[in-house]
Symmetry: C2
Subunit: 300 residues, 2 copies
């Protein structure tokens, strides 16, 4: 089954295009895990990551189609952190969640191939890391540098999400440079790279990242990349709302996935949920809110 079909089948099953970002910031872990997650011993901290993510993934699985581990926060723990990431990826896959590894990698030639192998093919001999279903990629180095990622996606039935227009306020400095703006030039290339990689659903395995903070630009990027699944980060904490995201979806509710990280991960700290005694109940409430909000905005 192609990547897009796997992804959108999960979206249909869950009745929502919600994606949970795993950005493990130890200072914001729920109380039962926080002290250990902040340990100066990376092995102790990584063990807390592992325990927290297992519980979190189990409680989130009914509400989200996909998860997006952010590699930076695991890399902060060195080798034990990478082992904790591998554990989260394996656990998410066992729960039938689509895993998009948010590594934003990008390099030239054989180095790009090494990154693709690490994150989409299990690493050396397939035995080093559980493979993600998809990977985020930074396109700055050009077509020859992106090609090894596209080839890995093709040969592995995996997905890619190229950074096109990111969710941060200053994204335009370089991404809007020139006429047409660079992000549109990148979008056209992403569409071309994915043209031959469409599956049964008609959607390609080659997707793009466009900030959920940019509803005014979504229709334009959708038109430039008519078959690319869009990963829309920035919902919730970064200020993106469900309103205005409809342009990314087709009439079947396919075409995009909406990520929230801190909006879910920090929900246990919300004053208005303090009446719920357990971090799990608060987190579940935030997941329900996100699902319902997206359903309403998309008219499902």
């Amino acid at each position: 089954m192609g990547f897009a079909e796997r992804l959108f089948t999960r979206v249909e099953e869950k009745g929502s295009p919600a994606m949970l970002g795993l950005d493990p910031r130890p200072d914001h872990f729920p109380e039962p895990f926080r002290a250990r997650a902040r340990s100066a011993d990376p092995e102790v901290a990584a063990e807390a990551f592992r325990a927290f993510h297992r519980e979190l993934l189990e409680l989130a699985a009914p509400y989200v189609a996909a998860v997006k581990p952010q590699v930076a926060f695991f890399e902060r723990l060195g080798a034990p952190g990478l082992a904790a990431l591998a554990d989260a990826v394996a656990h998410a896959r066992a729960l039938d969640l689509v895993v998009v590894v948010d590594a934003k990698r990008g390099d030239i030639g054989s180095t790009a191939a090494a990154y693709a192998e690490a994150w989409l093919a299990g690493g050396q001999a397939g035995a080093a890391l559980p493979p993600g279903d998809a990977l985020t990629v930074n396109p700055y180095l050009g077509e020859d540098a992106c090609a090894p990622f596209v080839e890995a996606a093709r040969s592995r039935d995996a997905g890619l999400f190229f950074l096109v227009k990111t969710s941060n306020p200053g994204a335009g400095l370089f991404q809007d440079h020139g006429e047409p703006p660079l992000a549109e030039v990148v979008a056209e290339r992403v569409a071309a790279w994915g043209r031959e990689l469409r599956d049964e659903t008609g959607w390609s395995s080659i997707g793009a990242v466009v900030g959920a903070t940019r509803p005014d630009e979504l229709a334009r990027f959708r038109a430039l990349m008519p078959h690319a699944p869009l990963l829309l980060p920035g919902y919730g904490f970064q200020g993106g709302s469900a309103d205005g995201l409809a342009a990314a979806f087709d009439e079947l509710g396919r075409g995009a996935i909406v990520n929230s990280s801190r909006g879910i991960l920090h929900a246990h700290e919300r004053d208005d949920l303090a009446h719920l005694p357990d971090w799990k109940d608060r987190t579940r409430r935030a997941l329900e809110e996100m699902r319902d909000d997206l359903r309403a905005a998309l008219g499902r």
Copy 2:
């Protein structure tokens, strides 16, 4: 001591701006390490990485000022690979080599800060990874996304090398987009970010990557970034030569560092060095050639 002063002091000590790239491709390891490096058990492979890099760093230390481990090839081995990278970084620093972690990271806000912490500050509590002296960064996400890296460099006396114009043949697709070309816009920002971060040498800790394959463009980028140390990759294997690199250096021989990875790492496979029985002798010969070639081209 500022990053630039550390870097250029080493260059003066070695009498050469040569940098050795550590791109561990198991198929090209010297025979004593090759079979283990190709193992399907990542622990076994990582142990071969460790043993090889210790010997390689010791034999290379008299000839190079700096080393540039390429994170992708360690990430292919998952957690044991990251431990092998940590070992190489620690060993290189113990040999007084400047370590530029070639990770090409880039992300927004607090995620960028997490990457900077991982690679420049030892990770969580400074205990997860030995810190590099500098890090390569991809600027595509814009100024607000680059700022946490710059702040980490400032507070840690560390260095950064932002990708400006890369060494691959297709670099221009996005990097030459617009008028002025994007790479020049990025170069101007890199110069601005580094303006307040110059040390005793007059050079900044905020540098840039410009391919050694682009001698025709070097003078232009040097003019746009008059105080930025330049990392020039692509010497040797990728076709870059020492001729034409002089524009990157000042009259004291400071200003840039020239990287060779495969030109050194694969030297033991060269037919014309087959009369030297040991991989170490062949590698040493290639290191001497690079040093002498750079000295001649730079008129030292």
